[in-house]
């Protein structure tokens, strides 16, 4: 049985957007796929050694807020300093109570399952990061590196 391949581009660096690439990659690996994730722009936040991912209610009308706050809370209120931190804490505790894995745990499961992770070198330079900022085992490359794997993949996702 030839191995199926999944290629993902991860471009977002918030807590909520960290889930799709890691959930899909770890599950695909469990189903026998060979998986590669290419992290570019804000997606690089997902491969930092210490992740400090936040979720923002600002400009996000789809986000259910506790105590029906979204019904009576002025939109401007979501921009109050500290609101993002509070919403992130609430989101994390809700996830924990529902048995949803942490992003750290899912990333670890991906690494254990040999999901190959590639960081966009151009973005590393752009934001003045160094390779020390990122997890061990992260490889670096550009668009051509992505296509080398994506070109022979069965599924490619842009997240």
């Amino acid at each position: 049985m030839s191995e199926k391949k999944l290629a993902i581009i991860a471009t977002k660096g918030t807590l909520d957007w960290a889930y799709p690439p890691f959930i899909l990659a770890s599950t695909a690996a469990a189903l026998g796929y060979q998986v590669q994730i290419f992290f570019t722009f804000y997606g690089l936040q997902l491969v930092r050694k210490e992740m400090d991912l936040q979720v923002s209610p600002l400009g996000n009308p789809g986000m259910p807020m506790p105590m029906a706050m979204d019904k009576w809370f002025p939109v401007l209120g979501t921009a109050i300093p500290g609101m993002q931190r509070i919403m992130t804490i609430m989101m994390k505790s809700k996830m924990k109570s529902k048995g949803v894995a942490s992003v750290e745990e899912l990333r670890e499961l991906c690494l254990e399952a040999d999901v190959k992770m590639v960081g966009c070198q151009m973005t590393v330079d752009l934001f003045d990061f160094t390779h020390d900022n990122f997890i061990d085992g992260l490889e670096y490359g550009g668009a051509a590196t992505f296509f080398e794997f994506a070109g022979e993949s069965d599924i490619t996702l842009y997240i």
Partner: protein
């Protein structure tokens, strides 16, 4: 005699953890052995069907017991 060789309690875990734990447990078992999985995630019912179709591990049965979802998977 129990009708399974190993048991995995995935109660309280949400997608995709029950699948990932099952995969990990199956990896340590022999072909033909049976894994019993207990889960509370309603999504796992469809997911374990899909998992066994795609991995060649046979889903022998799936059902509900005391409000929990129970599966038996034979390692292929």
């Amino acid at each position: 005699m129990a009708d399974f060789d190993q048991e995995l309690d995935a109660s309280g875990l949400n997608c995709p953890l029950p699948i990932l734990r099952a995969k990990k447990t199956l990896a340590g078992m022999d072909t033909g052995q049976v894994l019993r999985i207990v889960a509370t995630d309603p999504g796992s019912v469809k997911d374990f069907e899909a998992f066994s179709k795609q991995t060649g591990n046979e889903l022998m049965d799936s059902g509900e017991e005391g409000g929990k979802f129970v599966f038996r998977i034979k390692k292929g």
